[in-house]
């Protein structure tokens, strides 16, 4: 664990990614402390104004402070990213491991489910599910999770299949270890690496998808401050002020960039085979 951390720190992009990620998480957690205004506080007189002393990054069309809204947007992004990724990871891994151990019909059914979910482009699937479930924070978390389950499932299954045949597992069975014990203590630790890497690489995708859905108006609705919703508001008033778009877009991009860099350096640090030789 420790040397993984060291390897990440040593590469410049990894260091940047780690710092950015921490920054985003801290902003998300500490948003109420760091914000200068209430995110929904109106200041209609100062609507669509550029950055000033009163409003560090300007205001949106209702006079709400962009800096503060942006910070609260971080909260949403981190919350959604965490909720979606962890749920998809757990469900997907469970299904994947089951598929690897289960009899053929069950395995085929699970794989078919994965294939069907991935036969939809992710946004289209999300939109279809939104059409059915309706918008809102909870629904978004649910449906974005569904979109990402197959990836985790396939990786988990592939990894389990590789690990399943290893001699030490046979030894454990010979010693009388039960199936669940084997799965928990021996299979899981060995497959967790690529799954964690996948999770970290998926976080920016989740954030982008959620922001996209909110942008379209079917995701997280105002007054909750989602970067996507802020972006849409900004787009509507683009000719009057570019600042809402810049703030929302900029924060979104920086967060995504940070998580991407972090995820990649994590991947490079964990799997030496994937590391590119200089």
């Amino acid at each position: 664990m420790h040397d993984v951390f060291q390897r990440i720190w040593r590469s410049p992009s990894g260091r940047l990614g780690l710092i950015a990620t921490l920054l985003v998480v801290i902003c998300g957690i500490a948003a109420p402390l760091l914000a200068t205004h209430q995110p929904n506080a109106l200041d209609v007189a100062a609507r669509l104004s550029p950055p000033s002393v009163a409003h560090w990054l300007g205001t949106d069309q209702l006079g709400r402070d962009l800096f503060s809204r942006g910070l609260y947007g971080t909260r949403i992004a981190v919350l959604v990213a965490l909720a979606v990724t962890s749920t998809a990871l757990v469900v997907g891994t469970l299904l994947g491991v089951i598929a690897a151990y289960a009899p053929a019909p069950v395995e085929r059914a699970i794989l078919a489910l994965f294939d069907i979910i991935s036969s939809f482009p992710s946004l289209i699937l999300a939109l279809s599910l939104v059409a059915v479930l309706g918008p809102g924070l909870a629904n978004i978390i649910l449906l974005v999770t569904v979109v990402f389950i197959p990836q985790f499932g396939r990786v988990a299954r592939a990894q389990t299949l590789t690990v399943k045949e290893r001699p030490f597992l046979e030894a454990e069975r010979a010693l009388g270890a039960s199936g669940s014990r084997i799965m928990l203590f021996h299979v899981l630790p060995n497959i967790i690496g690529p799954i964690v890497v996948l999770a970290s690489m998926n976080v920016p995708v989740v954030i982008t998808l959620e922001a996209g859905l909110s942008f379209l108006g079917v995701g997280i609705r105002p007054p909750l401050a989602s970067w996507g919703a802020m972006l849409f508001d900004g787009f509507t008033y683009l000719d009057q002020s570019i600042w809402p778009v810049l703030v929302a877009g900029g924060m979104l991009t920086l967060a995504t960039l940070g998580f991407t860099l972090f995820g990649e350096s994590l991947r490079d640090a964990i799997d030496p085979k994937l590391r590119r030789e200089p």
């Binding site: 078919a112 069907i116 036969s119 289209i124 920016p204 982008t208 922001a211 683009l238 000719d239 991407t260």
Partner: protein, 331 residues
């Protein structure tokens, strides 16, 4: 190689993949139909409004087939779809198939140009970076490509719109252009295509760079060099073909993501197309249009993936042996 069904034959590989894809398609649409079951509230009253009479509601339900059991609905839907009937638009009364077919070319034009642009720029950049690893150019490229990948397409689209249309006025702000004038259409196509392609340029460049670097370290490249192959041929012919395989592999997924991105771009640039059609229909709770257009989108996606699989097998003869495995689907 004489028998068309012999091992390693491209045809056999294609046939199996086709069958598999058809199954997946059927499954997806079934899922979709099932979803409309769990819609909250009664679609009929939602669409017709609270003042609809019970008779009108009953008639509507009968027309929509909402009173049939689920498996019959799916069957009817498919039976109709195969005949080209995708249902009727609830709001305008027009056939869905017509709406979709009108919107489709715009979206395809956009998607195809975006992929073409992304590959046209991304592959050479990736090659260049791989042949000069560690150089200044390589490092600049690395930073740039990550940034491009991280920026969502809708952010890029809005920024492009702002700077080049609103501010500079170089490109039109909305629409797809005059249907009869290809040059005008091209003019309208530029910014949306760039917006969609930008992220992919970065992604493809990095993918090509890392796969090319990996391939260049392989023993058979050393063999080629050992026989005096000029370096250019070694890289461009022997290494590149193999290095492009991962890029081709992600093309299938890429097309899907691109169609999703097209939704944003079409809305931002106010272009007609499948994306804006679906989106508007969802907002209107216009289920027939939603179902019909999503069927077409998924169909295109599945077909595109199939073509990509085919291309993949054509490029890498080793794959032709592994017939049952979907790319990325199995162990």
């Amino acid at each position: 190689m004489n028998d068309i069904w012999s091992q390693g034959s491209l045809v056999r590989y294609g046939a199996v993949r086709l069958a598999f894809a058809a199954l997946v398609l059927v499954g997806s649409i079934t899922l979709l139909c099932c979803l409309t079951l769990i819609v909250r509230g009664d679609p009929a009253t939602i669409l017709l409004g609270p003042r609809a009479t019970p008779d009108a509601v009953a008639l509507f339900r009968q027309q929509m087939g909402l009173d049939l059991p689920i498996y019959e609905r799916v069957f009817v839907f498919f039976a109709n779809a195969l005949q080209g009937d995708l249902g009727t638009d609830v709001i305008s009364g027009r056939p869905v198939a017509g709406l979709v077919l009108a919107a489709l070319p715009n979206t395809m034009m956009l998607a195809v140009s975006a992929i073409a642009l992304a590959m046209l720029i991304g592959i050479p950049i990736g090659c260049y970076a791989a042949v000069r690893p560690g150089s200044v150019a390589d490092q600049v490229l690395a930073v740039l490509s990550v940034s491009l990948v991280a920026t969502p397409s809708y952010v890029v689209a809005i920024l492009l719109l702002y700077f080049f249309s609103v501010r500079l006025g170089w490109f039109p702000v909305l629409g797809a252009g005059d249907a009869g004038d290809p040059l005008d259409q091209l003019h309208h196509l530029v910014l949306p295509t760039i917006a969609l392609a930008v992220g992919w340029i970065g992604y493809i460049a990095r993918l090509v760079r890392s796969s090319l670097l990996e391939v260049l370290g392989e023993p058979f490249i050393r063999t080629a060099r050992a026989y005096g192959q000029p370096e250019r041929r070694v890289v461009m012919k022997y290494a590149l073909k193999l290095a492009c395989i991962p890029t081709v592999a992600i093309l299938g997924v890429g097309i899907g993501e691109l169609m999703g991105g097209a939704v944003f771009v079409e809305i931002i640039f106010n272009r007609p197309g499948l994306g804006s059609l679906v989106f508007k229909a969802i907002g209107d709770r216009n289920y027939p249009v939603v179902q019909g257009s999503i069927l077409v989108i998924v169909f295109i996606f599945v077909v595109a993936n199939l073509l990509v699989d085919f291309l993949y097998a054509w490029l890498d003869p080793r794959i032709r042996e592994n017939i049952g495995r979907a790319r990325g689907g199995g162990a």
